[in-house]
């Protein structure tokens, strides 16, 4: 009885599939009076604070560019969408931006997982995608080592942060025995702990134990108690602020007072809120940016940001802001609104000066830039030093 309906439905499905295939063009080109650019971020969900910060930064940069006459005399029109911190949603909205809104480039998402979910949409539709914070190694390079043609990033990679933190532990803190407690459910934490371990052991350090937790866990006392029994000099905890806040708190409650090292996933005021001010000491993490930097462009950015949003800029705001100008820089060099030419312009970026450092894109579509080490003192992030890549 329902066979007719079923047949009709499957016909519609097949037709839409076919049209989906034929819609593959050579990227998006000039389309009207404005330059449309997709801004795909985690505006709600687990990592909403990253996404919101980044999109605030991107939008500030675009507003400034538009105020100064835009690019080629055209205004940039950001199309802001929320991927809800979910992989499937990220893939959906990217496809929509590329095919329906015909954007010239995709900016975002924030996390590596959500960025990877958006890659097929960018690649199939030949639209360049640039993330300012997807630090996973395999965002720009696939598992076979081939560079993904349309994917770029303006932040350093996980492995690079892991390497730098291992060197920091060995050379600056002079520790030889470390333990790792990593989020086993995220690629981000896995990449970091692998790089940390390789660098730390190859330079004479020893990893006493490698333990794991899962995102959303709330009780870490068992694993922290057993780590305490091993007497490590330093603990490396790659992960995100929600769990790290609880880990720091519970570690200190259990009397595990060794320094805790991490990476840019710590970057959130929520870290202090969750861990509590009093216990958040001796925690170091690598970051992209420090507001203590007094370079001219950083000071200007901080003032502009405060004037626009009424709050202090954090690292993700700065990364987002740089991403906006990075896009403008490439677009101007591309010479026209054409996603294919824009892609080549991204790849050939040289010495782009942003607030998070000077960026040149290497052959793997990763930037070459320095990392900033932040130390938490009573819950307040303070600038410790800048580490240059070797």
């Amino acid at each position: 009885m329902n066979k007719k309906l079923l047949g009709a439905l499957s016909l519609v499905l097949i037709l839409s599939l076919i049209s989906g295939c034929t819609a593959k063009t050579t990227g998006n080109q000039d389309n009207g009076d404005t330059i449309k650019v997709g801004v795909n971020y985690e505006l709600s969900g687990d990592v909403a604070t990253y996404g919101q910060s980044l999109s605030d930064g991107v939008l500030l940069a675009i507003e400034e560019i538009n105020k100064n006459g835009g690019v080629f005399g055209k205004q940039i029109q950001p199309i802001k969408v929320d991927n809800k911190s979910e992989d499937t949603e990220s893939a959906n909205v990217s496809t929509r931006l590329a095919t329906r809104d015909k954007v010239v480039a995709l900016l975002g998402p924030a996390t590596s997982g959500n960025t990877k979910a958006a890659i097929p949409a960018a690649t199939q539709n030949k639209i360049p995608l640039v993330s300012a914070s997807a630090t996973a190694d395999d965002v720009t390079v696939d598992s076979n080592g081939n560079v993904r043609e349309y994917i770029f990033k303006t932040c350093f990679s996980d492995s690079f942060q892991g390497v730098m933190m291992a060197e920091f532990a060995l050379n600056d803190l002079n520790f030889k025995n470390a333990a790792i407690l990593a989020d086993s459910t995220s690629d981000y934490a896995k990449g970091l702990s692998k790089a940390f371990k390789e660098t730390f052991t190859s330079q004479g350090g020893k990893i006493l134990s490698e333990e794991a937790y899962q995102a959303k866990d709330t009780d870490f006392k068992a694993v922290l108690t057993s780590l305490k029994g091993l007497n490590p000099e330093v603990l490396f905890v790659p992960g995100y602020y929600e769990e790290v806040g609880l880990i720091v708190r519970q570690a200190r409650e259990l009397g595990l007072d060794v320094p805790i090292l991490g990476a840019d996933g710590y970057e959130s005021p929520k870290l202090t809120e969750i861990a509590g001010k009093g216990v958040l000491n001796d925690v170091y993490y690598s970051s992209h940016y420090s507001p203590m930097d007094d370079a001219e462009e950083v000071v200007k950015f901080k003032e502009d940001f405060k004037a626009r949003y009424g709050k202090e800029a954090d690292a993700f705001n700065a990364l987002g802001y740089d991403l906006g100008y990075f896009f403008k820089d490439a677009l101007e060099r591309a010479g026209e609104v054409n996603s294919e030419k824009l892609k080549d312009a991204f790849a050939s970026t040289k010495d782009f000066k942003g607030v998070t450092g000077t960026v040149s894109i290497d052959e793997n579509h990763n930037p070459v830039k320095s990392v900033t080490i932040i130390e938490m003192k009573d819950g307040v992030p303070t600038f410790l030093k800048k580490l240059d890549p070797k």
């Binding site: 959303k216 068992a222 108690t225 409650e253 969750i274």
Partner: protein, 294 residues
């Protein structure tokens, strides 16, 4: 040795939370054979009520705990009246699907109203660290509070079930609903009471977790709800001491597995134990084998 003792303390505090939530599962199952998947979400709402009371009204820990238990018991009764009562005589699969829908409804209604972000509970209980054996064992005063409150609530529940008229009615309904009704027991009222008591325990667990772990979010009930369900099944679903036993057993297992190098497989081990128990003793560790009446 000290480490083992410390781990036992960790395990007991984790286990008491599971036990509190598991009690609600088991009570509801015992009385109407329904696995109330919304139970973990009532626990979440309990945490949010506690959060609102302590943060916005500045109430202390104990008043917040009691009000939150009250709110959850009312919510439990409403859920029963609105969602479960109309389908009480339908198939069990219908009831199960309804329970899952109620769970999702509560989760995403909360996401809509309170936003999905994690919130931090204010410090309503002063964290005071007690050390034993020259600092080798560390107990937070909060741990002791949690364990004591859990034991107190369980003892209270035991009293209600075994010494009061309501408790007698509950036991009668769980044994045979029709026969109980014929004997003059008000079945509807008894089921309402059961939901009220079970939900208030979940509410208490929510506030305790908020205070203990300091963070709450609208989806915080999913995993503990699942674990508590496992605890209830482990102990023998429908049996009150079984839920308590299952809760502590699960908390202890998880703690000891991560303590001895298995932090990666923590949950895998917990669920493997469940499968093994179900294979050997399908009625749970404390369950009695009941012969099917023909």
């Amino acid at each position: 040795m000290e480490q083992l003792l410390q781990q036992l303390i960790n395990g007991i505090s984790l286990g008491s939370i599971y036990a509190l939530i598991a009690l609600g599962y088991t009570m509801v199952y015992g009385i109407i054979n329904l696995i109330n998947f919304a139970h973990g979400d009532i626990y979440m709402i309990g945490a949010y009520v506690g959060f609102a009371l302590t943060t916005f009204l500045g109430l202390g820990f104990f008043p917040s705990l009691l009000i939150s238990m009250l709110v959850c018991s009312i919510l439990g009764m409403i859920i029963e009246k609105v969602a479960y009562k109309p389908i009480r005589n339908s198939t069990r699969i219908a009831a199960l699907i309804t329970a899952i829908s109620v769970s999702l409804f509560l989760e995403y209604t909360m996401v809509y109203f309170v936003k999905p972000d994690t919130r931090t509970f204010p410090e309503v209980l002063q964290s005071k660290i007690l050390t034993l054996f020259n600092g080798k064992i560390i107990i937070d005063l909060k741990n002791i509070y949690i364990i004591l409150i859990t034991i107190l609530l369980m003892a209270g529940l035991q009293y209600v079930v075994h010494k009061t008229k309501v408790g007698k009615a509950m036991r009668a309904v769980s044994l045979d609903k029709n026969a109980a009704e014929l004997m003059g027991v008000d079945v509807n009222k008894t089921i309402s009471y059961t939901f009220a008591i079970g939900s208030s325990l979940a509410g208490a667990a929510g506030v305790l977790v908020g205070v203990y772990y300091n963070t709450i979010n609208p989806l915080m009930g999913v995993v503990p709800g699942l674990k508590a369900f496992v605890a209830a099944v482990l102990g023998g679903i429908g049996i009150i001491p079984g839920a308590v036993f299952g809760g502590f057993f699960l908390g202890m297992t998880e703690t000891l597995v991560s303590a001895y190098g298995g932090s990666v497989f923590k949950d895998a081990v917990a669920f493997s134990i469940l499968i093994i128990v179900l294979l050997i003793k399908p009625n749970g560790l404390l369950g009695k084998t009941i012969k099917e009446k023909v």
